[in-house]
């Protein structure tokens, strides 16, 4: 197969291409509700893919990715509100800053030998730090929240990312595809193989002459930088930012359930996971509304139970199983 294969059999590739075409033409005949759900799915597929670089490829468990989402969200929003700088230019600031923050955390953790569960807790600690810090930061209105001026739906301004859902739909769809291609390129490059070696056995990787510090840092920085785009999108799509929400640990967790359920370390796992989980949450909404159940928490209980069943039935993730069963995977992968 060529440079852009992602471990799919011809049947799998056809299916993926068909799905992509369908998603591209969908806005012509789909309503706003379906678009909104799909935007959410793409968003989770994208940030899940970004997180997967760090955990799925290089084996570094981060439970604090909300930090990167929130930081980039706040940075691009403040630049836009206070200085009138558009989100795409804002990313030129937000991505490097987020990468530097990731690098600092990674440096501290790796240089001081913080690994495994301890590393995960350290990432939570920094996200919580940011949450409480932003809660008391006057320049972003603290816990009162930051709001972006809401635009009229008729005027679409791509450069300022103001407009109808269909614009956000295409932006996020494109980002998801780009992330997939980028991750595929990384995974099949030298650095990708080094990551996998580190994930499988770090001692052995070091013995084989891999500078594990450097490549683990690389994974953290790439993952943080990719997540920054998700943060910018979040800020401009939802138009409001609250430290209690955007930096909260539940956001970090929400972001990583998809890739784990989908299949850790696989390219399509985060995408499949996002479709499954968001689809599940939305269908639960519909079913409960149809049954007339108006119980706060009922949806989450069912969601948790489904999650539990998937983990027990398919601990390796849904995508590897699905690919095997339907013959979507390339032979030998």
């Amino acid at each position: 197969m060529g440079r852009f294969d992602i471990g799919l059999s011809p049947r799998g590739l056809t299916l993926l291409a068909g799905l992509l075409v369908l998603l591209i033409v969908l806005p012509w005949f789909a309503g706003d509700y379906l678009l909104t759900v799909l935007i959410l799915i793409f968003y989770f597929a994208y940030v899940g893919q970004a997180w997967n670089v760090m955990m799925g490829f290089a084996g570094q468990l981060s439970l604090g990715h909300a930090l990167y989402v929130g930081l980039a969200g706040y940075l691009t929003a403040v630049l836009f509100i206070d200085l009138g700088i558009g989100p795409w230019l804002g990313l030129l600031v937000a991505i490097p800053v987020t990468m530097v923050v990731g690098a600092v955390i990674g440096f501290l953790a790796l240089r001081f030998g913080v690994t495994g569960v301890y590393f995960a807790i350290l990432t939570i600690a920094f996200a919580e730090f940011a949450r409480i810090g932003f809660d008391h930061l006057e320049i972003v209105n603290g816990s009162g929240g930051l709001f972006l001026p809401v635009a009229q739906h008729e005027s679409v301004d791509f450069w300022l990312l103001r407009g109808a859902p269909v614009m956000f739909y295409y932006v996020m769809l494109a980002a998801t595809v780009v992330a997939l291609v980028l991750c595929r390129l990384l995974l099949k490059s030298r650095i990708g193989y080094y990551w996998l070696a580190i994930r499988e056995d770090e001692e052995a990787a070091r013995a084989a002459g891999i500078d594990t510090f450097r490549y683990k840092m690389g994974a953290i920085v790439v993952s943080a930088g990719m997540t920054a785009f998700g943060g910018m999108f979040y800020a401009f799509y939802y138009n409001n930012l609250f430290p209690e929400q955007i930096f909260s640990i539940s956001r970090s967790i929400e972001l990583i359930i998809g890739p784990i359920i989908g299949g850790l370390g696989t390219l399509l796992g985060p995408v499949v996971g996002a479709f499954l989980l968001t689809g599940l949450a939305e269908s639960l909404n519909t079913v409960l509304a149809a049954l007339g159940v108006d119980l706060p928490g009922a949806k989450q209980v069912l969601y948790g139970v489904c999650l539990l069943f998937v983990i027990i039935a398919l601990p390796g993730g849904v995508w590897p199983w699905l690919a095997r069963r339907l013959g979507l995977a390339e032979k030998g992968t």
Binding site: M55, L61, L108, A109, F112, G113, V114, G116, V117, Y118, A120, I121, L122, I124, A125, F126, E128, F129, I132, G133, D135, H136, I249, S250, I253, I257, I260, I261, L264, L295, P296, G297, A298, Q300, V301, Y303, G304, V305, L307, L308, I311, I312, P315
Partner: protein, 289 residues
């Protein structure tokens, strides 16, 4: 401000910290033996808190009396959870274990939300406003009882691991999983007992904590984090470390609330956590691995 205020707040922080310590002890015991990180720890504590609230409001039973019964209920729940679900994941990858516990946590939080609603619930005891005067100090009676009970429970747990046959067997299984299997120990049962004991610890802590604070379903995740901070500060797997970490965090939070703003107090807990992780990753009383 007179010096007595600082002293009073410090004592109050230490007493609350002992209850925190008991909560964290449960987490530490589970991790030390089963090697599973219990991400549903705070959620399990809220279950105990609600049990205490129900016993108090429906039957007028004081949480001090319900300490052992509620701990026993949590023991059974913990035992069944480990036996029925978690045992199959003990040798699996960390990320799967993590997700499993998260799923359990989500279910607990929302079942509590369905049953009790989002409003805060608490107990109002007859001795809620009692206090002892010790020299210049004014010690809150409720906090003193709760802290005392926490020390007793922690001591009982320590004695169990030290002096009973099953406690020794659990320590053996923690030290050498394969070795324990070879000499014919029923490791799955021992793990379930350990998880039950950890749950009982956090159950006892929750029953005491309801005397000090009100409970909401959303309280769980915050206390899961707090338990992590405490055990890592004290040393994961070290029993005295958990209590010491609890006291340290309780004291820090109380002083930070007094000197700075109360809403920023948990920042100091995280500050301590980061410093400990960087400079003494095994914790203050932990052993180097």
């Amino acid at each position: 401000m007179p010096a007595e205020i600082y002293l009073n707040v410090a004592v109050s922080g230490i007493l609350t910290g002992l209850v925190y310590g008991l909560m964290a002890l449960g987490l530490s015991v589970i991790f030390g033996v089963v090697r599973v990180v219990n991400f549903a720890h705070g959620e399990m504590m809220t279950v105990a808190m609600y049990l205490a609230v129900v016993c108090f409001s429906a039957f007028g039973l004081d949480p001090m009396i319900m300490l052992i019964p509620i701990a026993a209920v949590l023991f059974v729940l913990g035992y069944l959870l480990q036996k029925g679900v978690i045992n199959a994941f003990v040798t699996g990858p960390e990320s799967t274990q993590f997700l499993l516990m998260i799923a359990i946590a989500i279910i607990i939080v929302n079942v509590l939300l369905i049953i009790f609603g989002p409003d805060a619930r608490g107990v109002q005891t007859s001795y809620a406003y009692d206090s002892f005067a010790v020299g210049p100090l004014l010690i809150d009676a409720t906090k003193a009882y709760a802290a005392g009970a926490s020390i007793v429970v922690a001591a009982a747990l320590y004695a169990f691991f030290r002096f009973t046959l099953i406690g020794t067997a659990i320590r053996a299984a923690a030290d050498n999983h394969t070795g324990a299997l070879v000499v014919g120990l029923n490791v799955q049962h021992l793990y379930a007992v350990t998880f039950g004991l950890g749950a009982a610890c956090v159950g006892a802590a929750g029953t005491m904590l309801i005397l000090l604070i009100d409970v909401t379903p959303a309280l769980g995740p915050a206390y899961t984090l707090l338990a992590f901070i405490i055990v890592i500060t004290g040393g994961l797997g070290s029993m005295p470390g958990a209590l010491l970490g609890g006291v340290l965090i309780g004291l820090t939070e109380a002083m930070a609330g007094l000197v700075f703003t109360p809403s920023a107090k948990s920042m100091f807990g995280f500050g301590i956590l980061v410093l400990v992780l960087l400079f003494r990753p095994q914790g203050i009383l932990g052993r180097k691995t």
